[in-house]
Symmetry: C2
Subunit: 530 residues, 2 copies
């Protein structure tokens, strides 16, 4: 079963912005006013008149690729190459806006399935062409920026034709999905069988199954449905050395779990061509609500208590004081004296009976811990806007506001230290007028993620302002002993900090695996592996 | 904090048997009668008069080791070397009983901590001595049988002096434990703080924290507390190339999860010197009960339903018809017409409120699925005998009954196929008079484990009868596409089947990692890595 119209559900994103061009809205007046009080607003329109660099591959190489996947599925079109250049981080968008297309791939190739991927990899190895797997193009840590040094060019391996639901096992509750399926497409195919995956990252509308696996994505319902890597029970991976098929059982003791080595491998160890995931019945009920806490620490302690009691709802997220104030400035917020403190969104999904039981137990626990219920309005407001933040970022960039996000994770006892260090690093580097917002959106019994949003005056060169701030934040994360990324992946942006986290021997292990599966070094070179 | 009397809690096991010699009981009359009806009973006493082979290491090598860990912590004593020979599988015991000590280590070395382990590994690399980490000595798949070919000898690295609780973080609910702690010792140290690990494999009384991590152990409370690998959030590993410290956060997207590469590495990638695990408050209530199902399939479907509804109790295990009949032949069983069908043990642990809520929900679900409650008696009987099966095995071996266990795991839709194939392979190979019992003791949303117990007439050479049966069972597992082991590990016994499960490229990856961390090949050579 395959989607008949691969592009029907979402149009392709423009190179300089997020999402569906038809959905772009200007900055809401309220937000524009608020932002205008803080930042010197300045319109900075994007440039679209810059040519992409001349393709580096020879005609025979392009012909060789056409022979594998067919003429229609190999393109050196400039507009397409521009859209396949980098991902959707703020630096990526700023580079596109200023016309820096130096990382454009030389050719875009669309294989039809696993076997064509294998053939493309064999050809690329022979011709020494870098291969960059491309799913939704939503990478935010430089994972689509291959280093072609010493190679003959860069091939963007567009997985957009690999969008099938290959198998559904209702007894085992598993589905085998192709990597090019976007979030809504995968859910739509499963919903036809009454099933759901339940992975809803902010990039849901564009990001793909292969990308979720390759980057260890985590979605907004992770408290209830788990991280994406925790949903995966099987993988098929094409490497230049041959295929890898993993997943003999949900769990086993057959040595190291090699699934966990290809999950998070970011295209550097192979191209993920099939992903088998746990699926669930579609929830009959979805209820989201708001809670207020006197402080970020009080709300975090409540999340910790729920997680350590194995009493987590489906969704749980907590904004710090700054983010709460900004959220509540939104017209759909709740305003008034309730804008004090910190807003928590709690969501329940499932059967009516399961939702009622869980909601009763969680409500009792949160009340006892000092939370104040705010009712359904904040929850519904969150649910309505849950995928819209990247559109707002575009509108802010349009008026000269530098805005970007970054995230990390740590154990509970280190949460406050990490929070303080990262905030201070960002504020000190970006200087006056900087706003740092934070939320916790993924919790575990032993720790949590911290997700920061930064807004600051963009100045003449927002990119030059951001890069040192990002470096300072990364150094603060390393100094705090935390994870350089909780769900955005390593890419090229975080690679300088990875060795500090996994150690020199850990880095050696990654290099050894890379050498074993990709001896010619063609797979997403420069990404991930230190 | 370290246990003051390392050996106080359990005496060392004898080489030919399981457990505390003071706890050995003869075969109960009921069981002897039952077994006598099926097998020709024949006493086969063990031999203890065989000398271990001459140690291969030179005096200077032994002196070098003494210089690292102190004179008292290096031993070439024959009795100790005999006790450090192999593990506790039935083949291991049969070889010990017949006096085959060809796998005896040449020297036993007891390091005091991580730094001494590092120094021992450096010395062993220089001298080309194989290093076999030794925790509880409970290995059942040949994980303690290193291949010293091309090396100067075998060093048994006894971790019995590394038994500390190094850190307890009550906020994050984590504890850092040394690898030599046996199960009861770790629980005792945690219980002093009101905390629990909650890992109770059958080998609990002897097996160690390091072994749990190195073999991906799974305990009898896995439904409630998870497999051991799922409890681990951090690891410190000594390798000949230096140390590896992993665990920046409960979960992250910092590339592949290298914890999952050292978990299950069976001493072949390094010596695990510290394990940081999630801990929990000690349960206030523990309730175990029995349920009867009309068939193994009906009971398995009920387990599947609970797992797929995220409604698992703390303990859930289901015996097939054969195992149920044997269990119920035990004087503490329930007998009568209730011995028909299949027995399920269900256990609840936690706070009174949590246990009551879970028990009510599970009871309603199991009743609706066709189960019949048998009350507390079968549950209490199971809890009392939960660690005693290996003693019974010794008593059966004593009278000439060949008895051994093996286990596997698969997805739910393949459960019956796997069960049928493995049973047939064992019955066909061992012939008339063979009893194959099976239970499911670890369940997931997408699948489960199958644990087989085999009893057959031992004949003149029980080992020669068992090895082809084990091979046939392994081939059946491979043919069914299942995991060659769910929680016993690969060792040397399952190594011939590992490549079928992880593929040629997967095997290459293991070899590449091995080469990166252990270029001289001294770490448990011959174990795990194909």
């Amino acid at each position: 079963m395959t989607l008949e119209h691969p592009s029907a559900l979402q149009p392709e994103m423009p190179p300089t912005r997020w999402g569906d061009p038809a959905h772009v809205t200007g900055l809401p007046d309220g937000v524009r006013d608020l932002v205008g009080l803080v930042f010197p607003i300045r319109d900075t329109p994007a440039r679209s008149d810059v040519a992409v660099p001349q393709p580096r591959l020879g005609d025979e190489q392009v012909a060789g690729l056409r022979a594998i996947v067919g003429d229609d599925n190999v393109s050196t079109d400039d507009a397409l190459r521009r859209r396949r250049t980098r991902g959707k981080s703020t630096p990526d968008l700023l580079r596109q806006r200023t016309g820096d297309l130096s990382d454009a791939p030389d050719v875009v190739v669309r294989p039809a399935g696993h076997d064509e991927v294998v053939a493309v990899l064999a050809f690329a190895q022979q011709e020494r062409i870098a291969v960059v797997p491309f799913g939704g193009g939503t990478a935010v840590t430089g994972g689509l920026v291959a280093d072609a040094d010493g190679l003959s060019g860069v091939l963007s391996l567009d997985l957009g034709r690999m969008r099938g639901l290959l198998a559904l096992d209702p007894v085992s509750s598993t589905a085998t999905l192709e990597p090019g399926l976007r979030g809504p497409e995968a859910e739509s195919l499963l919903a036809a069988h009454g099933m759901m995956l339940g992975h809803f990252p902010q990039s849901f509308e564009y990001a793909t199954i292969g990308g979720f696996a390759a980057t260890r994505s985590s979605g907004q319902s992770s408290a209830g449905y788990g991280r994406f890597d925790a949903m995966v029970v099987g993988l098929r991976v094409a490497t230049p050395r041959g295929e890898v098929r993993l997943g003999s059982a949900p769990a086993n003791a057959s040595g190291p779990d090699l699934r966990e080595l290809f999950l998070g491998s970011e295209g550097a160890f192979g191209v993920i061509t099939e992903v088998t995931v746990r699926v669930r019945p579609l929830p009959e009920v979805k209820e989201y609500e708001g809670w207020r806490w006197p402080s970020f620490a009080a709300g975090a302690d409540a999340m910790r208590s729920l997680a350590q009691s194995d009493l987590l709802p489906t969704v749980i997220r907590l904004s710090d004081e700054n983010e709460t104030a900004i959220n509540l400035a939104d017209p759909s917020g709740i305003g008034g004296e309730e804008s004090a403190g910190c807003l928590m969104i709690v969501g329940y999904e499932g059967t009516p009976a399961a939702v009622a039981a869980k909601r009763a137990a969680v409500t009792e626990a949160l009340g006892a811990l000092g939370g104040t219920s705010l009712g359904a309005a904040p929850g519904e407001s969150w649910a309505q806007g849950r995928f819209s933040a990247p559109y707002l970022r575009d509108s802010l960039l349009d008026v000269g506001v530098l805005v970007e996000t970054l995230e990390t994770a740590t154990f509970w006892s280190n949460r406050e230290n990490l929070y303080t260090r990262v905030r201070a690093a960002l504020e000190e580097t970006l200087g006056e007028g900087t706003m740092v917002l934070c939320h916790i959106s993924h919790v575990y019994a032993t720790g949590c993620s911290l997700y920061f949003t930064v807004a600051a005056p963009g100045g003449e060169d927002p990119l030059a302002r951001w890069l040192p701030a990002k470096a300072a934040a990364c150094e603060a994360i390393v100094a705090a002993g935390a994870a350089i990324t909780h769900h955005h992946a390593v890419g090229t942006d975080h690679k300088p900090y990875l060795t500090a986290e996994i150690g020199a021997v850990g880095a050696d292990v990654l290099r050894a695996v890379k050498q074993a599966v990709d001896p010619a070094g063609i797979l997403n070179p420069g990404v991930l592996v230190p």
